[in-house]
Symmetry: C2
Subunit: 124 residues, 2 copies
């Protein structure tokens, strides 16, 4: 059975808050962490980093874009693998320093082929 997760139940929109005013990019040197959660299942798929341009492109195109800290460049998730992420919601946290992408994931989110990058357990 498909487990349904509907963030609208929990996250009423804040009217009037646009990305420029609402997000504190300065705190992290131009980057904020983006948690990525799968629409429908609620599974946490990955965490990546976003700068203003990556956020803008994600909102404009409807597909998740990030900024790679190791390669120092913008990337579109799935550009080479085809494992794209269609944006369903973008939420920001109370401090404006973390983003939550809720996405429809095509294929596995993880480069290892795992559905989620979080496939190792430290405790139980």
């Amino acid at each position: 059975m498909e487990k349904q997760y509907n963030p609208r139940e929990f996250h009423p929109p804040l009217s009037g808050a646009g990305p420029k005013e609402a997000i504190d990019f300065e705190k992290g040197g131009g980057l904020v962490p983006a948690v990525v959660q799968e629409w429908g299942t609620g599974m946490v798929l990955m965490l990546a980093w976003v700068n203003k341009e990556a956020l803008f492109l994600s909102m404009e195109t409807g597909y998740a874009h990030y900024y790679s800290r190791s390669r120092n460049k913008l990337w579109k998730k799935g550009e080479t693998s085809g494992h794209i992420q269609k944006i369903r919601e973008i939420l920001i946290d109370c401090d404006g320093d973390t983003i939550l992408y809720i996405v429809e994931q095509t294929g596995p989110a993880c480069h290892t082929g795992a559905k989620s990058c979080f496939f190792r357990r430290l405790s139980n």
Copy 2:
């Protein structure tokens, strides 16, 4: 109806990986981001930061501990508010540079009184 989210369906344990070997604390100057997800609903509640000691205390005590970047000190979630987080699972990502706490949340997770810190929407 309570929506059930069971990470065991998705995240088989990796035997033999302990925290010291598995987590790259150096990349982020001693800290890694910890995504916090509610057991049972799958709701993403917050993101905070963890150093080795915070992770150790979380595992040892069974309650979520973090490291505050602004106050430069270790803190136990709910120590003053009572809004504690009982750890159900700790997962780490493929790169070993992000942690996922799956918790039973007492009261709201957010200091604003919201259930989740992610209560503002940028797009829909």
